[in-house]
Protein backbone atom coordinates (compact mmCIF):
# COMPACT_ATOMS: atom_id res chain seq x y z
CA UNK A 1 0.00 0.00 0.00
CA UNK A 2 1.26 3.44 -0.81
CA UNK A 3 1.54 5.34 2.37
CA UNK A 4 3.21 8.26 0.71
CA UNK A 5 2.10 9.16 -2.77
CA UNK A 6 5.26 9.31 -4.90
CA UNK A 7 3.88 12.04 -7.15
CA UNK A 8 2.30 14.48 -4.74
CA UNK A 9 4.07 13.50 -1.54
CA UNK A 10 0.79 13.36 0.40
CA UNK A 11 -0.02 10.70 2.92
CA UNK A 12 -3.15 8.60 3.16
CA UNK A 13 -5.07 11.33 4.97
CA UNK A 14 -3.71 14.17 2.86
CA UNK A 15 -1.01 15.37 5.19
CA UNK A 16 2.59 16.10 4.31
CA UNK A 17 5.22 13.82 5.84
CA UNK A 18 6.24 16.32 8.51
CA UNK A 19 2.77 17.57 9.29
CA UNK A 20 1.04 16.76 12.53
CA UNK A 21 -2.66 16.11 12.91
CA UNK A 22 -4.96 18.76 14.27
CA UNK A 23 -4.57 19.29 18.00
CA UNK A 24 -7.26 20.28 20.42
CA UNK A 25 -6.93 20.50 24.17
CA UNK A 26 -9.46 21.49 26.78
CA UNK A 27 -9.16 21.59 30.55
CA UNK A 28 -11.84 21.15 33.13
CA UNK A 29 -13.95 18.47 31.51
CA UNK A 30 -14.47 16.25 34.57
CA UNK A 31 -16.04 18.44 37.20
CA UNK A 32 -15.40 16.22 40.22
CA UNK A 33 -11.72 15.71 39.54
CA UNK A 34 -9.06 18.05 40.89
CA UNK A 35 -7.75 18.42 37.36
CA UNK A 36 -8.90 17.05 34.07
CA UNK A 37 -8.33 17.49 30.38
CA UNK A 38 -9.48 16.30 27.00
CA UNK A 39 -6.86 16.02 24.28
CA UNK A 40 -7.41 15.28 20.62
CA UNK A 41 -4.79 14.49 18.00
CA UNK A 42 -6.74 14.10 14.78
CA UNK A 43 -9.24 11.35 15.46
CA UNK A 44 -7.57 10.11 18.62
CA UNK A 45 -9.43 11.38 21.65
CA UNK A 46 -8.28 10.92 25.18
CA UNK A 47 -9.60 12.08 28.54
CA UNK A 48 -7.40 12.39 31.61
CA UNK A 49 -8.49 12.99 35.20
CA UNK A 50 -6.17 13.71 38.11
CA UNK A 51 -7.12 13.27 41.75
CA UNK A 52 -4.72 14.58 44.29
CA UNK A 53 -2.70 15.15 46.20
CA UNK A 54 -4.94 13.30 48.60
CA UNK A 55 -4.67 10.95 51.53
CA UNK A 56 -3.00 7.65 50.74
CA UNK A 57 -5.62 4.97 50.34
CA UNK A 58 -3.47 1.91 50.66
CA UNK A 59 -0.72 2.25 53.22
CA UNK A 60 1.11 -0.83 52.06
CA UNK A 61 1.82 0.71 48.66
CA UNK A 62 3.69 3.59 50.10
CA UNK A 63 7.37 3.23 49.42
CA UNK A 64 8.94 6.55 50.16
CA UNK A 65 7.19 8.64 52.78
CA UNK A 66 9.05 11.77 51.78
CA UNK A 67 7.49 11.81 48.35
CA UNK A 68 4.03 11.62 46.91
CA UNK A 69 2.94 8.29 45.47
CA UNK A 70 1.95 8.55 41.82
CA UNK A 71 -0.46 6.00 40.41
CA UNK A 72 -1.66 5.78 36.86
CA UNK A 73 -4.27 3.73 35.09
CA UNK A 74 -4.66 3.57 31.33
CA UNK A 75 -7.70 2.08 29.81
CA UNK A 76 -9.25 2.03 26.40
CA UNK A 77 -12.99 2.31 26.12
CA UNK A 78 -14.58 -0.76 24.59
CA UNK A 79 -15.92 1.42 21.77
CA UNK A 80 -12.62 3.17 21.09
CA UNK A 81 -11.33 0.87 18.37
CA UNK A 82 -12.96 -0.43 15.22
CA UNK A 83 -13.92 -3.78 16.71
CA UNK A 84 -15.29 -3.79 20.20
CA UNK A 85 -12.53 -4.51 22.67
CA UNK A 86 -13.18 -7.25 25.10
CA UNK A 87 -10.53 -6.37 27.66
CA UNK A 88 -10.42 -2.65 28.34
CA UNK A 89 -7.79 -2.92 31.03
CA UNK A 90 -5.72 -5.51 32.76
CA UNK A 91 -4.26 -6.87 29.56
CA UNK A 92 -0.53 -6.68 29.02
CA UNK A 93 -0.49 -3.71 26.70
CA UNK A 94 -2.57 -1.57 29.07
CA UNK A 95 -0.40 -2.54 32.03
CA UNK A 96 2.74 -1.60 30.16
CA UNK A 97 1.33 1.71 28.99
CA UNK A 98 0.14 2.53 32.51
CA UNK A 99 3.66 1.87 33.75
CA UNK A 100 5.16 4.01 30.98
CA UNK A 101 2.83 6.95 31.57
CA UNK A 102 3.36 6.80 35.31
CA UNK A 103 7.13 6.83 35.06
CA UNK A 104 7.09 9.58 32.45
CA UNK A 105 4.93 11.86 34.59
CA UNK A 106 6.89 10.99 37.72
CA UNK A 107 10.01 12.34 36.04
CA UNK A 108 8.37 15.75 35.98
CA UNK A 109 6.18 15.97 39.09
CA UNK A 110 7.95 17.46 42.10
CA UNK A 111 6.88 14.68 44.40
CA UNK A 112 8.99 15.78 47.33
CA UNK A 113 6.74 18.82 47.81
CA UNK A 114 3.78 16.63 48.69
CA UNK A 115 4.88 13.98 51.17
CA UNK A 116 2.42 11.52 52.63
CA UNK A 117 -0.01 11.84 49.81
CA UNK A 118 -0.94 10.18 46.57
CA UNK A 119 -1.69 11.48 43.11
CA UNK A 120 -3.93 9.39 40.86
CA UNK A 121 -3.87 9.84 37.11
CA UNK A 122 -6.63 8.13 35.16
CA UNK A 123 -6.48 8.16 31.39
CA UNK A 124 -9.21 6.83 29.21
CA UNK A 125 -9.03 6.51 25.45
CA UNK A 126 -12.34 7.42 23.87
CA UNK A 127 -11.33 7.12 20.23
CA UNK A 128 -8.17 5.34 19.10
CA UNK A 129 -6.63 6.27 15.78
CA UNK A 130 -2.94 5.76 16.40
CA UNK A 131 -0.73 7.64 18.82
CA UNK A 132 -2.86 6.92 21.89
CA UNK A 133 0.18 6.76 24.13
CA UNK A 134 1.28 10.25 23.11
CA UNK A 135 -2.20 11.69 23.41
CA UNK A 136 -2.47 10.21 26.90
CA UNK A 137 0.75 11.81 28.06
CA UNK A 138 -0.27 15.19 26.64
CA UNK A 139 -3.69 14.94 28.27
CA UNK A 140 -2.10 13.94 31.59
CA UNK A 141 0.19 16.99 31.47
CA UNK A 142 -2.79 19.29 30.94
CA UNK A 143 -4.74 17.61 33.73
CA UNK A 144 -1.83 17.81 36.20
CA UNK A 145 -1.31 21.49 35.45
CA UNK A 146 -5.05 22.06 35.87
CA UNK A 147 -4.95 20.36 39.26
CA UNK A 148 -2.23 22.71 40.46
CA UNK A 149 0.35 19.97 40.98
CA UNK A 150 3.88 21.41 40.78
CA UNK A 151 5.90 20.09 37.86
CA UNK A 152 9.44 20.63 36.70
CA UNK A 153 8.47 21.07 33.10
CA UNK A 154 5.75 20.39 30.54
CA UNK A 155 5.94 16.80 29.29
CA UNK A 156 4.75 16.29 25.73
CA UNK A 157 4.89 13.31 23.48
CA UNK A 158 4.60 12.56 19.80
CA UNK A 159 5.18 9.60 17.53
CA UNK A 160 6.93 9.27 14.19
CA UNK A 161 7.52 6.48 11.73
CA UNK A 162 9.37 5.56 8.58
CA UNK A 163 7.42 4.29 5.60
CA UNK A 164 8.24 4.37 1.89
CA UNK A 165 11.69 5.73 2.78
CA UNK A 166 10.19 8.87 4.30
CA UNK A 167 10.11 9.84 7.96
CA UNK A 168 6.46 10.51 8.83
CA UNK A 169 5.29 12.54 11.80
CA UNK A 170 2.32 11.57 13.98
CA UNK A 171 1.20 8.23 12.61
CA UNK A 172 -2.45 7.38 12.46
CA UNK A 173 -3.83 3.87 12.81
CA UNK A 174 -3.42 2.89 9.16
CA UNK A 175 0.20 3.99 9.08
CA UNK A 176 0.87 2.44 12.46
CA UNK A 177 -0.44 -1.00 11.51
CA UNK A 178 1.53 -1.03 8.29
CA UNK A 179 4.28 -2.86 10.13
CA UNK A 180 6.89 -0.15 9.79
CA UNK A 181 8.93 1.29 12.63
CA UNK A 182 7.15 3.39 15.22
CA UNK A 183 9.11 5.77 17.44
CA UNK A 184 7.35 7.44 20.35
CA UNK A 185 9.24 10.26 22.02
CA UNK A 186 8.34 12.15 25.17
CA UNK A 187 10.31 15.24 26.12
CA UNK A 188 10.57 17.77 28.91
CA UNK A 189 9.89 20.72 26.65
CA UNK A 190 11.90 23.52 28.16
CA UNK A 191 14.85 21.50 29.38
CA UNK A 192 14.93 19.72 26.00
CA UNK A 193 15.51 16.34 27.56
CA UNK A 194 14.15 13.03 26.35
CA UNK A 195 12.23 11.22 29.04
CA UNK A 196 10.24 8.65 27.08
CA UNK A 197 11.65 6.78 24.12
CA UNK A 198 10.06 3.67 22.69
CA UNK A 199 10.71 2.10 19.37
CA UNK A 200 9.79 -1.12 17.67
CA UNK A 201 10.64 -2.77 14.34
CA UNK A 202 14.02 -2.40 12.70
CA UNK A 203 15.73 0.80 11.66
CA UNK A 204 19.31 1.57 10.69
CA UNK A 205 20.90 3.92 13.17
CA UNK A 206 21.12 7.03 11.04
CA UNK A 207 17.53 6.76 9.95
CA UNK A 208 16.61 6.32 13.57
CA UNK A 209 18.30 9.58 14.44
CA UNK A 210 16.33 11.42 11.75
CA UNK A 211 13.05 9.93 12.86
CA UNK A 212 13.75 10.71 16.51
CA UNK A 213 14.56 14.32 15.64
CA UNK A 214 11.31 14.62 13.71
CA UNK A 215 9.34 13.28 16.64
CA UNK A 216 11.12 15.69 18.99
CA UNK A 217 10.14 18.60 16.76
CA UNK A 218 6.57 17.43 16.92
CA UNK A 219 6.77 17.32 20.71
CA UNK A 220 8.00 20.90 20.84
CA UNK A 221 5.11 22.05 18.67
CA UNK A 222 2.66 20.31 20.99
CA UNK A 223 4.36 21.93 23.98
CA UNK A 224 3.77 25.38 22.48
CA UNK A 225 0.10 24.55 21.98
CA UNK A 226 -0.33 23.15 25.48
CA UNK A 227 1.29 26.22 26.95
CA UNK A 228 -1.16 28.43 25.11
CA UNK A 229 -4.13 26.42 26.33
CA UNK A 230 -2.95 26.61 29.94
CA UNK A 231 -2.13 30.30 29.77
CA UNK A 232 -5.53 31.12 28.29
CA UNK A 233 -7.24 29.09 30.97
CA UNK A 234 -5.28 30.78 33.76
CA UNK A 235 -6.03 34.25 32.43
CA UNK A 236 -9.71 33.45 32.13
CA UNK A 237 -9.96 32.13 35.69
CA UNK A 238 -8.10 35.12 37.06
CA UNK A 239 -10.27 37.63 35.23
CA UNK A 240 -13.46 35.97 36.35
CA UNK A 241 -12.35 35.81 39.92
CA UNK A 242 -12.55 39.53 40.30
Amino acid sequence: MEHVNPLTGFRVDGRRPNEMRQLRGEVGVVSRADGSALFEMGNTRVIAAVYGPREIQNRSQQVNLKEALVRCEYRMAEFSTGDRRRKPKGDRRSTEISLVIRQTMEASILTHLMPHSQIDIFVQVLQADGGTRSACINAATLALADAGIPMKDIVTSCSAGYLCSTPLLDLNYIEDSAGGPDVTVGILAKMDKVTLLQMDAKLPMDTFETVMELATEGCKAIATYIREVLLENTKQLECQRG
Binding site: E96, L99, T104, E106, L196, K202, P204, M205
Partner: protein
Protein backbone atom coordinates in the same frame (compact mmCIF):
# COMPACT_ATOMS: atom_id res chain seq x y z
CA UNK B 1 4.05 -6.04 53.42
CA UNK B 2 6.52 -4.74 50.88
CA UNK B 3 9.52 -7.02 50.89
CA UNK B 4 11.48 -4.96 48.43
CA UNK B 5 15.03 -4.17 49.38
CA UNK B 6 15.60 -0.50 50.06
CA UNK B 7 19.12 0.89 49.94
CA UNK B 8 20.47 2.55 53.03
CA UNK B 9 21.71 6.11 52.80
CA UNK B 10 25.28 4.87 53.19
CA UNK B 11 25.07 2.43 50.35
CA UNK B 12 23.46 4.97 48.09
CA UNK B 13 26.15 7.55 48.77
CA UNK B 14 28.91 4.99 48.41
CA UNK B 15 27.75 3.87 44.99
CA UNK B 16 27.11 7.43 43.81
CA UNK B 17 30.50 8.65 44.94
CA UNK B 18 32.16 5.71 43.25
CA UNK B 19 30.46 6.71 40.00
CA UNK B 20 31.68 10.22 40.26
CA UNK B 21 35.21 8.89 40.41
CA UNK B 22 34.52 6.66 37.42
CA UNK B 23 34.47 3.43 39.42
CA UNK B 24 31.90 0.77 39.91
CA UNK B 25 31.50 -1.12 43.12
CA UNK B 26 32.24 -4.50 41.55
CA UNK B 27 35.34 -3.22 39.79
CA UNK B 28 33.97 -3.19 36.25
CA UNK B 29 34.34 -0.34 33.83
CA UNK B 30 31.19 1.65 33.15
CA UNK B 31 30.56 -0.13 29.87
CA UNK B 32 31.58 -3.68 30.79
CA UNK B 33 29.18 -6.54 30.86
CA UNK B 34 29.40 -9.16 33.54
CA UNK B 35 30.49 -12.70 32.85
CA UNK B 36 28.12 -14.48 30.51
CA UNK B 37 27.52 -18.23 30.75
CA UNK B 38 25.04 -20.13 28.64
CA UNK B 39 24.10 -23.71 29.43
CA UNK B 40 21.81 -25.77 27.26
CA UNK B 41 19.39 -28.32 28.56
CA UNK B 42 18.95 -31.81 27.30
CA UNK B 43 15.88 -30.96 25.27
CA UNK B 44 15.84 -28.76 22.24
CA UNK B 45 14.90 -25.23 22.97
CA UNK B 46 15.92 -24.89 26.57
CA UNK B 47 18.72 -22.69 27.79
CA UNK B 48 19.88 -21.22 31.04
CA UNK B 49 21.80 -17.96 31.06
CA UNK B 50 23.93 -16.55 33.85
CA UNK B 51 24.89 -12.91 33.53
CA UNK B 52 27.05 -12.36 36.58
CA UNK B 53 24.72 -13.66 39.28
CA UNK B 54 21.48 -13.08 37.40
CA UNK B 55 20.02 -16.36 36.19
CA UNK B 56 17.25 -16.69 33.67
CA UNK B 57 15.95 -19.81 32.02
CA UNK B 58 14.32 -19.84 28.61
CA UNK B 59 12.14 -22.60 27.24
CA UNK B 60 10.58 -22.81 23.79
CA UNK B 61 7.54 -24.91 22.88
CA UNK B 62 5.58 -25.10 19.66
CA UNK B 63 2.03 -25.91 18.84
CA UNK B 64 -0.04 -26.09 15.71
CA UNK B 65 -2.77 -23.48 15.66
CA UNK B 66 -4.89 -21.52 13.28
CA UNK B 67 -3.20 -18.36 12.10
CA UNK B 68 -4.49 -14.80 12.59
CA UNK B 69 -6.90 -13.65 9.92
CA UNK B 70 -4.69 -10.73 8.87
CA UNK B 71 -1.60 -12.92 8.52
CA UNK B 72 -2.70 -16.25 7.14
CA UNK B 73 0.71 -17.53 6.15
CA UNK B 74 2.77 -16.54 9.14
CA UNK B 75 3.38 -18.38 12.35
CA UNK B 76 3.22 -16.64 15.70
CA UNK B 77 5.76 -15.98 18.38
CA UNK B 78 4.80 -15.09 21.93
CA UNK B 79 7.03 -14.28 24.88
CA UNK B 80 5.90 -14.88 28.43
CA UNK B 81 7.99 -13.87 31.39
CA UNK B 82 7.52 -15.08 34.89
CA UNK B 83 9.29 -13.77 37.92
CA UNK B 84 9.65 -16.73 40.21
CA UNK B 85 9.40 -15.87 43.93
CA UNK B 86 12.73 -17.55 44.51
CA UNK B 87 14.46 -14.86 42.49
CA UNK B 88 13.66 -12.01 44.84
CA UNK B 89 11.76 -11.64 48.12
CA UNK B 90 9.67 -8.93 46.50
CA UNK B 91 8.15 -11.24 43.91
CA UNK B 92 4.79 -12.77 44.71
CA UNK B 93 3.54 -15.94 43.06
CA UNK B 94 0.58 -15.56 40.79
CA UNK B 95 -0.16 -13.03 38.10
CA UNK B 96 2.88 -11.32 36.64
CA UNK B 97 3.42 -7.83 37.99
CA UNK B 98 4.24 -4.68 36.05
CA UNK B 99 7.94 -5.42 35.79
CA UNK B 100 7.35 -8.90 34.40
CA UNK B 101 4.92 -7.59 31.81
CA UNK B 102 7.31 -4.85 30.78
CA UNK B 103 10.14 -7.34 30.38
CA UNK B 104 7.97 -9.64 28.31
CA UNK B 105 6.87 -6.85 26.02
CA UNK B 106 10.35 -5.38 25.53
CA UNK B 107 11.80 -8.74 24.52
CA UNK B 108 8.74 -9.44 22.41
CA UNK B 109 9.18 -6.19 20.50
CA UNK B 110 12.87 -6.81 20.02
CA UNK B 111 12.38 -10.32 18.68
CA UNK B 112 9.07 -10.31 16.90
CA UNK B 113 8.70 -6.86 15.40
CA UNK B 114 12.25 -6.82 14.13
CA UNK B 115 11.57 -10.07 12.35
CA UNK B 116 14.51 -11.88 13.88
CA UNK B 117 12.77 -15.22 13.64
CA UNK B 118 11.38 -16.09 10.24
CA UNK B 119 7.69 -16.64 10.84
CA UNK B 120 6.73 -17.46 7.28
CA UNK B 121 8.70 -20.68 7.37
CA UNK B 122 6.44 -21.77 10.23
CA UNK B 123 3.48 -21.96 7.95
CA UNK B 124 2.31 -25.47 7.16
CA UNK B 125 -1.03 -24.98 5.44
CA UNK B 126 -1.75 -21.35 4.69
CA UNK B 127 -4.82 -20.13 6.48
CA UNK B 128 -5.25 -23.33 8.46
CA UNK B 129 -2.21 -24.65 10.25
CA UNK B 130 0.79 -22.72 11.41
CA UNK B 131 3.27 -23.30 14.18
CA UNK B 132 2.86 -21.08 17.18
CA UNK B 133 6.04 -20.61 19.19
CA UNK B 134 5.87 -19.84 22.85
CA UNK B 135 8.96 -18.69 24.71
CA UNK B 136 8.71 -18.96 28.48
CA UNK B 137 11.27 -17.05 30.46
CA UNK B 138 11.69 -17.87 34.11
CA UNK B 139 13.74 -15.60 36.27
CA UNK B 140 15.60 -17.72 38.80
CA UNK B 141 17.83 -15.15 40.45
CA UNK B 142 17.54 -11.39 40.25
CA UNK B 143 20.89 -9.68 40.55
CA UNK B 144 20.06 -6.82 38.23
CA UNK B 145 19.58 -6.36 34.49
CA UNK B 146 16.95 -9.02 33.93
CA UNK B 147 16.05 -7.74 30.47
CA UNK B 148 19.44 -8.38 28.92
CA UNK B 149 19.82 -11.79 30.51
CA UNK B 150 16.30 -12.84 29.58
CA UNK B 151 16.83 -11.67 26.01
CA UNK B 152 19.97 -13.80 25.68
CA UNK B 153 18.10 -16.73 27.18
CA UNK B 154 15.31 -16.33 24.63
CA UNK B 155 17.81 -16.13 21.77
CA UNK B 156 19.75 -19.15 22.99
CA UNK B 157 16.60 -21.19 23.44
CA UNK B 158 15.27 -20.22 20.01
CA UNK B 159 18.60 -21.04 18.39
CA UNK B 160 18.59 -24.57 19.69
CA UNK B 161 14.90 -25.25 19.28
CA UNK B 162 13.85 -27.73 16.62
CA UNK B 163 10.30 -28.31 15.62
CA UNK B 164 9.00 -31.62 14.37
CA UNK B 165 8.63 -31.96 10.65
CA UNK B 166 5.18 -32.37 9.32
CA UNK B 167 3.87 -33.26 5.91
CA UNK B 168 0.57 -32.68 4.29
CA UNK B 169 -0.81 -35.70 2.57
CA UNK B 170 -3.51 -38.22 2.90
CA UNK B 171 -6.42 -38.85 0.59
CA UNK B 172 -7.69 -35.31 0.31
CA UNK B 173 -4.31 -33.64 0.47
CA UNK B 174 -5.40 -31.91 3.65
CA UNK B 175 -4.40 -34.41 6.23
CA UNK B 176 -1.57 -33.34 8.44
CA UNK B 177 0.94 -35.79 9.82
CA UNK B 178 3.38 -34.69 12.46
CA UNK B 179 6.40 -36.91 12.32
CA UNK B 180 8.01 -38.23 15.41
CA UNK B 181 11.52 -36.85 16.04
CA UNK B 182 12.94 -40.35 15.84
CA UNK B 183 11.42 -40.95 12.43
CA UNK B 184 12.31 -37.68 10.76
CA UNK B 185 14.86 -35.11 11.85
CA UNK B 186 13.22 -32.06 13.41
CA UNK B 187 13.94 -28.73 11.79
CA UNK B 188 15.57 -25.79 13.48
CA UNK B 189 14.20 -22.29 13.13
CA UNK B 190 15.43 -19.75 10.64
CA UNK B 191 16.88 -16.86 12.59
CA UNK B 192 17.83 -13.88 10.47
CA UNK B 193 19.72 -11.89 13.03
CA UNK B 194 20.33 -11.83 16.75
CA UNK B 195 18.87 -8.75 18.43
CA UNK B 196 20.84 -8.11 21.60
CA UNK B 197 19.40 -6.02 24.42
CA UNK B 198 21.78 -3.63 26.17
CA UNK B 199 20.49 -1.86 29.26
CA UNK B 200 21.87 1.47 30.44
CA UNK B 201 21.26 2.85 33.91
CA UNK B 202 21.42 6.61 34.57
CA UNK B 203 22.57 8.41 37.63
CA UNK B 204 23.01 12.00 38.62
CA UNK B 205 21.37 14.35 36.13
CA UNK B 206 21.61 11.94 33.25
CA UNK B 207 25.33 12.50 32.82
CA UNK B 208 26.58 9.25 34.37
CA UNK B 209 25.56 6.06 32.64
CA UNK B 210 26.62 2.46 33.05
CA UNK B 211 25.88 -0.72 31.17
CA UNK B 212 24.49 -3.85 32.81
CA UNK B 213 23.53 -2.50 36.24
CA UNK B 214 23.65 -4.79 39.25
CA UNK B 215 20.73 -5.10 41.63
CA UNK B 216 22.03 -2.42 43.96
CA UNK B 217 22.82 -0.04 41.13
CA UNK B 218 19.28 -0.56 39.82
CA UNK B 219 17.81 0.30 43.19
CA UNK B 220 19.35 3.76 43.19
CA UNK B 221 19.35 4.61 39.52
CA UNK B 222 17.55 7.68 38.19
CA UNK B 223 16.36 6.04 35.00
CA UNK B 224 16.89 3.13 32.66
CA UNK B 225 17.06 2.68 28.90
CA UNK B 226 17.12 -0.65 27.10
CA UNK B 227 18.34 -0.66 23.52
CA UNK B 228 18.03 -3.73 21.34
CA UNK B 229 20.48 -3.72 18.43
CA UNK B 230 21.92 -6.32 16.14
CA UNK B 231 25.32 -6.79 14.52
CA UNK B 232 24.09 -5.26 11.23
CA UNK B 233 23.93 -1.85 13.00
CA UNK B 234 20.13 -1.91 13.01
CA UNK B 235 18.23 -0.59 15.98
CA UNK B 236 15.53 -3.15 16.73
CA UNK B 237 13.78 -1.63 19.68
CA UNK B 238 14.25 0.97 22.39
CA UNK B 239 12.51 1.20 25.71
CA UNK B 240 12.97 4.19 27.91
CA UNK B 241 9.89 4.39 30.04
CA UNK B 242 10.15 7.72 31.80
CA UNK B 243 12.74 8.33 34.46
CA UNK B 244 15.48 10.92 34.36
CA UNK B 245 15.52 13.03 31.18
CA UNK B 246 18.41 12.70 28.73
CA UNK B 247 19.80 14.94 26.06
CA UNK B 248 19.21 13.52 22.57
CA UNK B 249 22.97 13.53 21.98
CA UNK B 250 23.41 11.25 24.98
CA UNK B 251 20.80 8.90 23.53
CA UNK B 252 22.73 8.61 20.28
CA UNK B 253 25.96 8.06 22.20
CA UNK B 254 24.35 5.20 24.08
CA UNK B 255 23.22 3.68 20.80
CA UNK B 256 26.75 3.71 19.49
CA UNK B 257 28.09 2.08 22.66
CA UNK B 258 25.31 -0.48 22.46
CA UNK B 259 26.34 -1.42 18.93
CA UNK B 260 29.86 -2.20 20.10
CA UNK B 261 28.63 -4.23 23.05
CA UNK B 262 26.12 -6.09 20.94
CA UNK B 263 28.83 -7.16 18.53
CA UNK B 264 30.81 -8.64 21.45
CA UNK B 265 27.87 -10.47 22.86
CA UNK B 266 26.75 -11.79 19.49
CA UNK B 267 30.21 -13.33 19.09
CA UNK B 268 30.07 -14.88 22.50
CA UNK B 269 26.66 -16.37 21.85
CA UNK B 270 27.76 -17.80 18.53
CA UNK B 271 30.79 -19.37 20.14
CA UNK B 272 28.72 -20.89 22.91
CA UNK B 273 26.15 -22.17 20.43
CA UNK B 274 28.77 -23.89 18.34
CA UNK B 275 30.23 -25.44 21.48
CA UNK B 276 26.95 -26.49 22.99
Amino acid sequence: MDERWFPTVNEREFIEQAFESGLRVDGRGPFDFRNLKIAFGREDGSAEVELGETRVMGYVTAQLVQPYKERPNEGTLAIFAEFSPMADPAYEPGRPGEAAIELGRVIDRGLRESRAVDLESLCVVAGKHVWSLRVDLHVLDNEGNLIDAANIAALAALSTFRRPECTVGGDDGQQLTIHDPDVREPLSLTIHHLPIAVTFAYFGDGNIMVVDPTFKEEAIMGGRMTVTVNSNTDVCSIQKAGGEGLMPSVVMQCLRIALLKAADITNEIKIKLSQG
